[in-house]
């Protein structure tokens, strides 16, 4: 059920600007909604992170993935079991930039017969990596529309991204990869019964939204073209807080912009917040140096314990019988 609800919700999100972004409606879809969405995104994101940040980390409980630092002659694994801040930074970098934990699944394994193959979750790792990096590249490429003059890195990025020099406008690999990876992640959810079992609307919705977003972008670049100069005029107007609506921008642009607005406004209230959360996960961002450096729990409180005195009072005679030393005779 979750699939269909999400699917139709995204269809509706496509239809709304298709109908509404005409005439004066363009001011709503081109100026008002994007501003609101950006505000929700930035403030919501900060709010969520601050909310997490205000919650203390009472215990230092890193998950260790390698040999700890112990005796000097024992080979230590500083990245999977960091004992220093530098190590933690390294571990986090591997985690955030290379999805280290997902990669653990992909190890050459013993199989029946002479075949050597990899664990099945290699595909999850590849798709996740492709998805996120493609998204990043696509986002950065859009800076050519945000900034005037166009910053140098965009040209560089484009020449790398479009190195195949297919078609005109040049085909950018990142856009296609993004769409395919999102489709893979969706199909995986549907095709694997275990995953279908654990998925609900909130899992399908962002995927459909991103598929629609990437789809409308590709459509706009390669098929239903819009006047890019006017688009840039609109966007630079937005970012310089001097919004204007130039004439004659195709409606597909407003669909694209609206989907983006919905995505970023939805972001802080959803699982997409893993983008911020991954940095704050206490099992990953802490050093395994518990026995060297004391960790303070801000709400640590005294507890009722059974003291030695109580213990001896109860067992004194029996202790004396077998010659165990006692405090009081």
């Amino acid at each position: 059920m979750g699939i269909w609800v999400s699917f139709f919700a995204v269809i509706a999100l496509v239809l709304i600007p298709s109908v509404g972004a005409q005439g004066a409606g363009q001011y709503i879809f081109g100026i008002f909604i994007p501003y609101v969405a950006v505000l929700i995104f930035v403030i919501g994101f900060i709010y969520r992170v601050v909310q997490w940040g205000k919650t203390p980390v009472p215990f230092k409980i890193p998950t260790t993935g390698g040999q700890m630092k112990s005796l000097p002659w024992i080979k230590w694994n500083p990245l999977d079991n960091p004992a220093t801040t530098g190590g933690v930074v390294g571990r986090m970098a591997l985690e955030v930039l290379a999805f280290r934990s997902l990669f653990r699944n992909t190890r050459v394994e013993l199989r029946d017969g002479p075949r050597v193959s990899y664990g099945s979750n290699k595909w999850l790792w590849v798709a996740a990596l492709a998805f996120h990096y493609a998204f990043l590249v696509v986002f950065l490429r859009h800076f050519r529309l945000f900034m005037e003059p166009v910053p140098g890195f965009v040209g560089l990025l484009e020449s790398v991204d479009g190195f195949m020099e297919v078609g005109l406008p040049r085909l950018m690999i990142s856009g296609v990869v993004l769409l395919l990876a999102a489709l893979y992640l969706f199909l995986r959810r549907v095709a694997v019964p275990q995953l279908r079992y654990i998925s609900f609307a909130a899992d399908y919705f962002p995927l459909f939204l991103i598929i629609a977003l990437a789809g409308s972008g590709l459509l706009m670049r390669y098929f239903i073209r819009v006047d890019i100069t006017s688009v840039k005029e609109l966007i630079t107007g937005l970012v310089s807080l001097r919004p204007t609506i130039p004439e004659g921008i195709g409606v597909i642009f407003f669909v694209h912009l609206f989907l983006l607005s919905v995505l970023i406004a939805y972001f802080p209230f959803s699982k997409l917040m893993h983008a911020g959360g991954v940095f704050m996960s206490p099992t990953r961002n802490m050093a395994n140096d518990n026995r060297q450096n004391r960790h303070i729990n801000p709400w640590n409180y005294p507890v009722k314990v059974h003291t030695y005195a109580e213990y001896e009072d109860e067992f004194r005679e029996k202790m004396k019988e077998v010659g165990l030393p006692v405090e009081k005779e």
Binding site: E109, L110, D112, G119, S120, V192, P193, Q194
Partner: protein
Amino acid sequence: MALKQLLEENKSVILSRWFDTILETYPVDTQHFLRSKKNQFDNPVARRISDGIEGIFSQILNDDEEKDVSPFLDKVIRIRAVQDFAPSRAVAFMFDLKRLVREVLGKAIRELQLSEELGRFEEAIDKMGLLALDIYMKCREEIYELRVNEVKRSVSRLIERANKICGIPGKEGDPEVCSTDNLT
């Protein structure tokens, strides 16, 4: 033995359908997992089942006098005995084989008029099915034995010590057991 030859020729088809039939007794969400991962350490259950049924099947085809299916039956049943299956469900897979063979080879058997051989073959499977039930019971008994042994083991030394303190010689048939009052 023409039937045997037929079985031999269709071994891989029968085995894979047999495997599927067994997997169908698990929750649908699990079936995918059991089917997808072939690594014997990541997915030991599927591995054990497929090894087991392959062994059973080759023992059926084996003409040797001392053919023994028990170790292979044990492979499959030992895991099913602790997986919440009713006894009948735990061993039903043996009887499923009869249906599978008829499904796969039914036409050929009629054409070659091997029904008599088929009868003998099915009789053999029935016997194995009964053997499977024995093995199931053995596994269950082992579980109960483990429970008893564990309770014993968890205080074994204490009791041993208690007996030593009281100096019980512990002759066979001696009903006298030392009181452990002084210990608790």
